[in-house]
Amino acid sequence: MNLLEVLGLQRSFSGGIRAVDDVSFHVDQGESFAIVGPSGCGKTTTLRLIVGFDLPDRGTVLLRKKDITRIPPERRGIGFVFQEHALFPHLSVHGNVAFGLRGLPRSVRRERALELLRLVGLGAERDRQPHQLSGGQQQRVALARALAPGPHIVLLDEPFNSLDAELRDVTRRDVYTLLRQARTASILVTHDQQEAMSFADRLAVMRSGHLEQVGTPSQVYRYPQTVFVARFLGNANVLSAVAHGADAATPVGTVPLTEERRGPVMIALRPEALAVVPNGEWKVVACEYKGDHSLLRIAHEQTTLLARSPAECTVSPGQSVHPTVLGQAVPLQQDTDGNGSPQLQSGRIPARPDR
């Protein structure tokens, strides 16, 4: 059942910039959803429209089939976790968590708040002041506070941003587990694709105010639909190719496609679908050692590609190699705005006289 439905949401700010442009998606009961995209893509604005801190110019937000687009945030029953935690500095940890438990007897409030604090593993810290906690602890308090009133869904706005790398992973796992235990649906907004993929049941990739692709992490990773998505999730090689049905001619030779196409097309080829053997026209530019594998950067003319190789760097920069294709390539849609991703690194698309 659709818990939350977002339909055609649109929001412009002064200067006519469309921060959110015709965004639609849904979140199921108990589902963890993520919106991932570069900073400034409109994902935080989307979240603020859903919780009601901001109002859309157009579009609808439905929560359990009820239109909540224009009702004030305090009557939506949606939890929110801020990037900066936004704990109330004048209240203790316990006071923060109990804050949203209104209209309940004192003892019930106490119990419920304590229960949540135990759930996030901070039962012992209940009488401390927020500034006495570490960043990760603050984050957990913020989550406990948002969960306390039993919201239908919790929105998390880059909640792990202020944490250092190590703490980030741990906290993310904790939060995920907690949300599962509480059977609460959630929307996580992040610019970190790893984070989104490891957190979400489904995710949406957002760019310049609109959603490029929605699906499960593996769907989106394995079958990106646009150049942008291919680049943003994982370091896909984006190549221009000419398709002939089930395969396509590319600078690295003929590559099988995941679906049939004809004519000029952009394709995404994951580094793990590319290996190298010594001697060839390509030159190794760099080899990054990643522990369980190495990432090779190879170049030929104006094209640079990433390829994966076994753990040790068996080739060294300067060496000439030949790339071989191990897997399939994904044909991509042409970008709506006509030019490729700004991060396009695989060289320019050759001019097509037949277009």
Partner: protein
């Protein structure tokens, strides 16, 4: 409150000496009062000091002080909200207007308000409508509130502007209406700002005589004045002044207790202020009406009255006399303000970075100096000046020093709060880079404190320009400030002649107000 970690176990001696000297200077009057009080005969003390009427007056004073604090808060909090959170926040000149009433001397405000009502009042003569004159409790309350609310406004505005917007949003998402989240989340965080402005306004109201006596409200300062003015007596006046100071000391103590644990540290790296200002919608007209009434009363009435006096009798004052008074005023107020700024920096820096009994006491002492009745403060400086530094007696240097010490508390407030927001880590960083604490202070903390020092200095300067009793006692003969000129004329009912001098005070203070206090938030 999380005690800022000290990065050195040793308080810098030089700083301690400066701050100690300031503390001693501020408390000299207390010693003077004790010396004088010891000359008393017990029987007379009982008769004059511990008479029921003085208790009654004390009650009146406390009632007035409480009233002024409530009134100031009721004026300043909505004002600060309007000018930080709503569409009006973009109109910077409104902030200047809101701070400008500070420049109106109390006696001018009182005279102007009194001149509104009554059969011969401005209202009656302009509109034929005769309303009773203000007076008594409500008159004194309104009058003092109208020129003290900017203290509260400045503090609350700074606090509001620095408050992360997402705290309110968090409350909203937890089921609180805008009103409820303002009450439960915003208001509690304004408490430290309110407390520190209440202290200054409260101590001022406790000791004020000018406005209160014009409004015919019998306060405790009236009893002190009576003793000096009626009986020319310093002994029993000292007893009364000490009673007042005991009360003030109690207030300072309670304040420090309340303040403890209330200076909330921002948690996380929250972005202060924030998104778009709230549109006022249909409340816009109510907001404008509120501002109009407030500015009419706090600025329009006194400045209009001065203008009326000025043109009532087309007699241009001797411009040279006006200019020389203005120069005399600045030649005292500016050095006093600068000195107060430096002393406040030393005192605040010590008390914030090396919190302890001694440094806290040093930070509290200026408030006792501020609460000392100015006449007693001036007489103390006469007493010690002639005995200790006769060569300084009756020089502008001693006068500036006296004003700086008396008004030091006004500078300590803003400097301390800026310093509390400056993480010691920055200095530690500088020291790690091989700077001595002095270099670290001068290169890192000093510039960061600059904002607070500037605001404090401006406050001292404005109030020093209005000051009377200490100026009269300590100025060299032949020296006349704008305030003493206003006093000289108004005391003889020569209002037309007083007007240009009073207006000059306002106009000299206006740029100070707009360029320092009005912009304080921007830093």
């Amino acid at each position: 409150m999380g005690r800022p970690r000290s990065f050195s176990h040793h308080r810098p001696l030089g700083l301690l000496v400066v701050a100690g000297a300031a503390g001693a200077g501020v408390l000299l009057p207390l010693i003077y009062l004790l010396l004088r009080a010891m000359e008393a005969e017990w029987g007379v003390v009982q008769e004059l000091v511990f008479r029921p009427r003085n208790l009654y007056l004390l009650g009146n004073t406390l009632g007035l002080t409480a009233g002024v604090l409530i009134m100031d808060t009721l004026i300043a909090v909505p004002l600060a909200w309007l000018l930080t959170r709503t569409e009006l926040a973009t109109r910077r000149w409104l902030v200047s207007l809101a701070v400008l009433p500070l420049a109106i001397p109390g006696y001018v405000m009182a005279t102007a308000l009194l001149g509104l009502g009554g059969g011969y009042g401005a209202l009656a003569r302009l509109t034929g409508l005769s309303v009773p004159r203000l007076g008594g409790y409500w008159g004194a309350l309104l009058c003092i509130s109208l020129y003290t609310f900017p203290y509260v406004f400045i503090n609350v505005r700074t606090a509001l502007a620095g408050l992360p917007r997402n705290l309110e949003e968090a409350a909203r998402s937890l089921g609180y209406t805008p009103r409820a989240s303002a009450r439960r989340v915003v208001l509690p965080q304004l408490v430290p700002a309110l407390l520190s402005s209440w202290l200054v306004v409260g101590l001022y109201t406790l000791g004020d005589f000018g406005a209160v006596s014009l409004m015919r409200y019998e306060s405790f300062s009236y009893a002190i004045y009576l003793q000096y003015a009626g009986a020319f007596d310093r002994t029993y006046a000292a007893w009364l002044a000490l009673m007042l100071l005991t009360l003030a000391g109690g207030i300072v103590f309670v304040h420090s207790r309340l303040q403890r644990g209330k200076s909330y540290h921002a948690v996380g790296s929250a972005t202060p202020g924030g998104a778009s200002p709230a549109p006022l919608g249909h409340l816009r007209w109510a907001a404008y009406a509120y501002l109009l009434i407030l500015f009419f009363l706090s600025l329009g009435v006194p400045i209009g009255t001065l203008g009326f006096w000025l043109f009532q009798r087309p007699l241009l004052p001797e411009l040279s006399s006006l200019a020389s008074s203005a120069i005399d005023t600045l030649s005292v107020a500016l050095p006093a303000a600068a000195l107060a700024g430096v002393l406040a920096a030393a005192v605040s820096y010590l008390s914030v970075r090396w919190p302890g009994k001694l440094t806290q006491a040093l930070a509290g002492a200026p408030y006792i100096g501020y609460a000392t009745p100015p006449l007693a403060f001036g007489l103390a400086l006469v007493f010690f000046g002639l005995r200790g530094v006769p060569w300084l007696y009756q020089t502008t240097a001693l006068l500036s020093l006296g004003l700086a010490l008396h008004l030091l508390a006004l500078a300590v407030g803003p400097v301390r709060s800026t310093l509390l927001q400056t993480p010691p880590r920055l200095e530690e960083g500088a020291r790690a880079l091989g700077r001595s604490w002095l270099r670290a202070f001068l290169e890192v903390t000093g510039p960061l404190m600059g904002r607070g020092v500037l605001a404090g200095t401006a406050l001292v300067c404005i109030v020093a320009m209005k000051e009377l009793p200490i100026t009269i006692l300590l100025a060299p003969p032949g020296f006349s400030t704008l305030a003493t000129q206003v006093f000289s004329y108004t005391s003889e009912a020569l209002f037309a002649q007083a007007a240009p001098y009073a207006l000059a005070i306002v106009f000299l203070a206006a740029p100070l107000v707009t360029y320092t206090l009005g912009r304080e938030v921007n830093g």
